[in-house]
């Protein structure tokens, strides 16, 4: 399979100097790619640019061989789902949050389908994070972007989410996961991209 994403010479300006500079990388379509690096190195920024929550100040990003800016942005985001560090629940039940197909999607993220009628606010953080994954999967994406998906979780639910992420990659989704834990990256990822702080020698 070819590259899902290709980043060429990316530059992102922050308030106090560059966050990313001259950054290039390829993300293959298959498997799980981990993005690691010290905090403040621009991992989160990098992930946000892949579904155009943000745009780089220089360089270009290709998705399936075409500049991300050439896609309709809403269609791009449907295909490239982003799930944040802290689960965001919307008002209403779990079924309202996930939308059509929740009966099949909840078991897929290892949640009991009986949770469908529960108010999303009442879920534990681990359950809420898995519900967010189900909500993203409901859009039928080709790719999942996960920003430290386990950082807000306790050890038990962390292992659960790690296994889940791994199984989604095995099912053929492109998964890009930002993590600050080298252990997590080496244990579950197929490959690792390291982001060095801008200014450091590559």
């Amino acid at each position: 399979m070819g590259d899902r994403f290709e980043l060429r010479d990316i530059r992102v300006e922050g308030d106090d100097g560059p966050i990313l500079e001259g950054f290039s990388a390829r993300i293959p379509a298959d498997g799980l790619t981990a993005v690691v690096g010290p905090s403040g190195s621009g991992k989160t920024t990098l992930l946000r640019m892949l579904n155009r929550l943000d745009d780089p100040d220089g360089g270009e990003i290709l998705f399936d061989g075409r500049d991300v800016r050439s896609y309709d942005v809403l269609e791009l985001r449907r295909r490239v789902q982003h799930v944040g560090q802290v689960p965001v629940t919307f008002p209403g039940t779990v079924a309202d949050n996930v939308g059509a197909g929740w009966e099949e999607l909840l078991p897929r993220v290892h949640l009991d389908a009986g949770l469908g009628g529960r108010l999303a606010d009442l879920l534990s953080v681990g359950e809420a994070q898995r519900m967010c994954l189900a909500r993203a999967l409901a859009r039928g994406p080709d790719c999942l972007l996960l920003d430290e998906p386990t950082s807000a979780l306790d050890t038990a639910s962390k292992g659960e989410v790690e296994r889940l992420v791994r199984s989604l990659a095995d099912d053929g989704l492109t998964v890009v996961m930002v993590t600050h834990e080298p252990r997590q990256a080496t244990e579950i990822a197929d490959r690792i991209i390291t982001v060095a702080p801008a200014g450091d020698a590559p």
């Binding site: 943000d54 789902q81 967010c132």
Partner: protein, 261 residues
């Protein structure tokens, strides 16, 4: 003195300064430390109103053609006030200018077209000033509320964007609550009018010697006018403010994302 209209001389105004003295004494005795503010407020109110009185005398007497200029000056002043209140809202002044212009032109225009009020300075200027000052508060409220809410809920807004919502959809819940915040005070005032306080226009007419039934008819028109003016202002300010906080590609602008919440 039975007729208050035209019955108050500058000597009477000078005598009423004893009321200011009461406030100064209370502030001094209670160590509220407001004496300077009270004096400044007294001097400012005197000079500002004296100037406005002279201008209005001039316009009412024979220069009705200046009415649009007077209204424009009010809109510009209100725009600058509202624009500086809404710090860190990009283009706040333009938003305020648009919202105040639509609110005053829409409301006064409707009153004139329906021939509810005559096209004379004596009607247009005071009613315009009421609309503009109310719409100014609404505009500031809507802009600052949206700014604070979108900054505080940026995670949720971006989660909605990530799921494929447009910026209008993603901002929807906070857009609605900002509209409510902007419009509710006037609606509440309209509900309790006459029960809690006799409103300004009615009070003015009563003091000027009009019959209470004539005074309430004017007051009703004023209240309905303020409802419409505020709705216009909230609508325009809300739409334009949401527009400025997102790019054409449905991204939250960077300055809002980096705002302390």
């Amino acid at each position: 003195m039975n007729d208050l209209a035209g019955g108050i001389s500058f000597a009477d105004v000078a005598l009423s300064l004893c009321l200011v003295a009461v406030a100064v004494v209370i502030s001094r005795v209670q160590h509220a430390d407001l004496e300077t503010d009270i004096v400044v407020a007294t001097v400012r109110s005197f000079t500002q109103l004296l100037a406005v009185g002279l201008v209005l005398d001039y316009v009412f007497a024979s220069h009705g053609g200046l009415t649009p200029v007077i209204i424009a000056v009010m809109i510009v002043t209100a725009t600058l006030t509202s624009g500086s209140r809404a710090r860190r809202v990009p283009g706040a002044r333009w938003i305020a200018a648009a919202s105040l212009t639509v609110a005053s032109a829409g409301t006064i225009g409707l009153l004139l077209v329906l021939r509810i009020i005559p096209a004379v300075p004596r009607a247009v200027i005071p009613l315009g000033s009421m609309i503009i000052s109310n719409a100014m508060n609404t505009t500031s409220l809507v802009m600052t509320r949206l700014r604070d809410d979108l900054a505080a809920h940026r995670r949720e807004v971006e989660a909605r964007l990530s799921l494929g919502q447009t910026s209008a959809e993603a901002a929807g819940p906070w857009h609605r609550s900002a509209l409510r915040t902007g419009m509710l005070p006037v609606i509440d005032n309209t509900k309790v009018v006459g029960l809690v306080a006799l409103p300004g226009a009615m009070t003015g007419m009563l003091l000027a010697g009009a019959s209470p039934s004539a005074a309430i008819r004017l007051q009703l028109v004023v209240m309905y006018m303020l409802l419409a003016g505020n709705a216009f202002a909230a609508l325009v300010a809300g739409k334009l403010t949401v527009g400025r906080f997102f790019t054409a590609d449905h991204q939250l602008i960077r300055s809002l994302r980096r705002m302390p919440s």
